[in-house]
């Protein structure tokens, strides 16, 4: 299996490199050979050879630099997702897949157009929140943290339902986007480390199996997940 960690040194604000580590370890625990290529602005990636692509979140300024670079891969990424291959984009990286991003000064940047949604940034208030999301593909909830300054409209295939936290925009109880097996979410940080069941689901998609994977090594990951879920659930009910 080949993993691509794209823009690893500029889209990596919240310890997000750990998402790749979590996946590598789970695949290896199931006797699968894994190689990871870390590619950034100055090199060109051959998107078609990979089984999994990861991009993390960046500052609003860095995202615009990366967006310009990502445009060279627009067609390749379209083919990649149409073929049902797997990718995860956390934080503001998935905003680049849409139609446009409007920055806080009103300047409009074209996205790569993999989907028709639109993103609008502001610079007044940082929108941060602990989050509990549910997903239609799993009976396990997702936990994590959101850290953004944008709102997203016109997502036709959202990824999660918001139980606690912030949706794609203020009026939306849906979060993120799913395009076949490409997952985009404003959950930031080591999402796959914090959500061992989501990790297992993603790994299953990559391998192309419904078989139960060996997850014995995820003891502390699962224990940590339960603690966070119970802390957040307690918090959510206290807020109501």
């Amino acid at each position: 299996m080949k993993i691509l960690h794209l823009y690893y040194d500029i889209m990596n604000l919240y310890g997000e490199y750990a998402n790749v580590l979590a996946l590598e370890r789970l695949l290896r625990a199931n006797n699968i050979d894994v190689t990871t290529d870390k590619i950034t602005l100055d090199e060109k990636a051959d998107i078609s050879v990979y089984d999994f692509i990861y991009i993390g979140s960046g500052t609003e300024r860095n995202q615009k630099v990366v967006l310009e670079n990502l445009k060279q891969y627009a067609e390749d990424l379209k083919t990649y997702t149409e073929n049902g291959k797997t990718a995860l984009l956390t934080g503001n990286s998935f905003e680049m897949l849409g139609k446009t991003i409007t920055d806080s000064k009103g300047k409009i940047f074209d996205g790569i157009g993999l989907s028709e949604f639109e993103t609008t940034e502001q610079n007044k208030k940082r929108m941060t929140a602990d989050a509990i999301f549910s997903a239609d593909f799993s009976d396990k909830k997702l936990v994590g943290f959101i850290n953004k300054s944008s709102s997203i409209n016109n997502v036709d295939t959202p990824l999660f339902s918001v139980e606690m936290g912030i949706g794609n925009n203020d009026n939306d109880k849906k979060e993120g986007i799913r395009i076949n097996n490409l997952f985009g979410t404003h959950l930031t940080g080591p999402v796959l480390m914090k959500n061992p069941y989501f990790l297992e689901y993603i790994a299953g998609l990559i391998i192309g199996t419904d078989k139960k994977l060996n997850t014995d090594h995820l003891y502390y990951e699962k224990a940590g997940y339960e603690v966070t879920l119970s802390e957040l659930t307690r918090r959510a009910s206290a807020n109501q």
């Binding site: 040194d9 500029i10 990596n12 604000l13 919240y14 310890g15 997000e16 490199y17 750990a18 580590l21 602005l41 100055d42 500052t59 609003e60 300024r61 860095n62 630099v65 610079n123 940082r126 941060t128 602990d130 936990v143 994590g144 943290f145 850290n147 300054s149 930031t188 940080g189 080591p190 480390m193 914090k194 502390y220 990951e221 224990a223 940590g224 603690v227 966070t228 802390e231 957040l232 918090r235």
Partner: protein
């Protein structure tokens, strides 16, 4: 009259607050309600020195106050570290006469990075020290660029900036200005050519976003940088750490003033340098500053020594959600040549607000602990599982790591016949849970 009463009420509330042990922001808050523009009605001293940045604000302010006081200056400063506008209002009114004149020679303000723009609408600093911009409390602050933008709004053309030249983002505040004084460190014996951290916030030029190269790294993105494209680079410094010897605990500034260090960390030497720079600008002689700072032990309670049975140790107060703060504490433990045990506690991520976010654990260079000086590592607190996962991705031998969720149990585990010195690395939010067991 309104001014008179506002000052009076603020002083009275402060007086009562001190007796009953309340914080220092409430009197200012009420004063601002009574008279929203009270700060602009106060006659301020010639020197208004403000200090901000991600790390080292409180320590730098304490050091500046110490030096200036020792040299016969009267200083009004926020000892309690209440650094938002309410706390600063309490400070200013508390230091003012009822007629509205601050009686001290120098007003010294520690200011929160995000709120400086509000505070300084009324009180424009004459001198503004910016120490550094790190990944710090990102659950509130977003990221360093976001904080940079918030701070930009607090900087006025006439203010004398005093900037850390070794921090590429901080240095950007000096762009296009000639009234900047730069401080920084020459290449030091503790430097590395390659960056060994898990992330690099100096990888790209903050000005043009092209790749940057470093001729030397002091730590993380702090060092001597140059953009490969636009030429943005570290500025020459007027106030410079010319050498440091952490083993013997000395640093030398400008090749002449040697200071003996009470706390042998890289962190500390930058705070001392910033204080040296500010005090020099006020007119204090370098040799006098060096004498005042030598072996100076901070009074802000961030380093606390303790005993458990026959064992001795130190609590190194670090900041959760701040990887560089943790790195500095870890680096200090690693230099203990007699061998030591290290305990980490992550129980409440923040004391001020609720969050379960532990992504910052992945930005800390725990890998440094794979070092012969580090004997045992004890992990504890509610988020012990997340710590355990993070450590499982280091090369530290498993048998060195002890995972004990309950802090009291972990404490009793330390109560052993072992002779190693103990370092407890944790945050304000959690250190009391350990200290109360002593």
């Amino acid at each position: 009259m309104k001014k008179f009463f506002t000052i009076l009420v603020c002083k009275l509330l402060r007086f009562v607050g001190k007796i009953i042990g309340k914080g220092s922001s409430l009197p200012g808050k009420i004063a601002l309600k009574m008279c929203p523009d009270i700060l602009s009605r106060i006659q301020l001293p010639k020197y208004i020195i403000a200090v901000t940045g991600s790390n080292g604000k409180t320590s730098t302010v304490e050091m500046i106050a110490h030096i200036l006081t020792r040299n016969g200056k009267s200083v009004a400063w926020n000892k309690e570290g209440s650094n938002q506008i309410e706390g600063v209002t309490t400070l200013v009114l508390g230091s003012a006469s009822l007629g509205g004149k601050v009686k001290s020679d120098i007003l010294l303000i520690e200011s929160d990075e995000r709120f400086a723009k509000y505070t300084f609408q009324y009180i424009k600093p004459t001198h503004y020290v910016i120490t550094n911009l790190y990944r710090d409390q990102l659950t509130r602050n977003g990221h360093p660029d976001w904080v940079f933008d918030a701070l930009s709004d607090s900087i006025f053309p006439e203010t004398q900036l005093i900037l850390n030249a070794d921090d590429p983002l901080v240095s950007l505040f000096g762009r296009g200005r000639d009234n900047v004084i730069w401080f920084g460190a020459d290449e030091l014996s503790t430097d590395t050519k390659e960056l060994k951290s898990v992330y690099n916030d100096g990888a790209y030029c903050p000005e043009c976003k092209s790749p940057m190269t470093y001729s030397t790294h002091h730590y993380n993105h702090i060092g001597h940088y140059k953009c490969s494209s636009c030429g943005y680079c570290r500025q020459d410094t007027q106030y410079t750490i010319t050498s440091v010897d952490l083993d013997n605990g000395t640093m030398t500034i400008n090749g002449k003033d040697t200071i003996s260090l009470a706390l042998k960390s890289l962190y500390n030497i930058y705070n001392i340098l910033a204080a040296y720079t500010a005090a020099s600008i006020v007119g204090i002689d370098g040799a006098k500053i060096a004498a005042d700072m030598s072996d100076y032990v901070m009074k802000n309670g961030r380093v606390i020594t303790f005993e458990i049975g026959k064992r001795q140790g130190t609590v190194l107060t670090s900041k959760h959600e701040n990887s560089i703060s943790y790195n500095q504490s870890i680096r200090l433990a690693c230099t203990d040549k007699n061998g030591c045990d290290v305990m980490f506690i992550v129980d409440a991520v923040s004391r001020k607000y609720f969050t379960s976010d532990v992504s910052w654990l992945w930005d800390i260079d725990f890998e440094m602990l794979n070092n012969e000086n580090i004997h045992e590592i004890i992990l504890s607190g509610k988020y012990v599982n997340d710590l355990a996962v993070r450590f499982s991705y280091t090369d530290i031998p498993k048998e060195k790591i002890h995972i004990i969720e309950n802090i009291e149990e972990a404490y009793h585990y330390l109560e052993s016949d072992r002779e190693e010195y103990i370092y407890v690395i944790t945050c304000f939010s959690d250190k009391g849970k350990f200290l109360s067991l002593l």
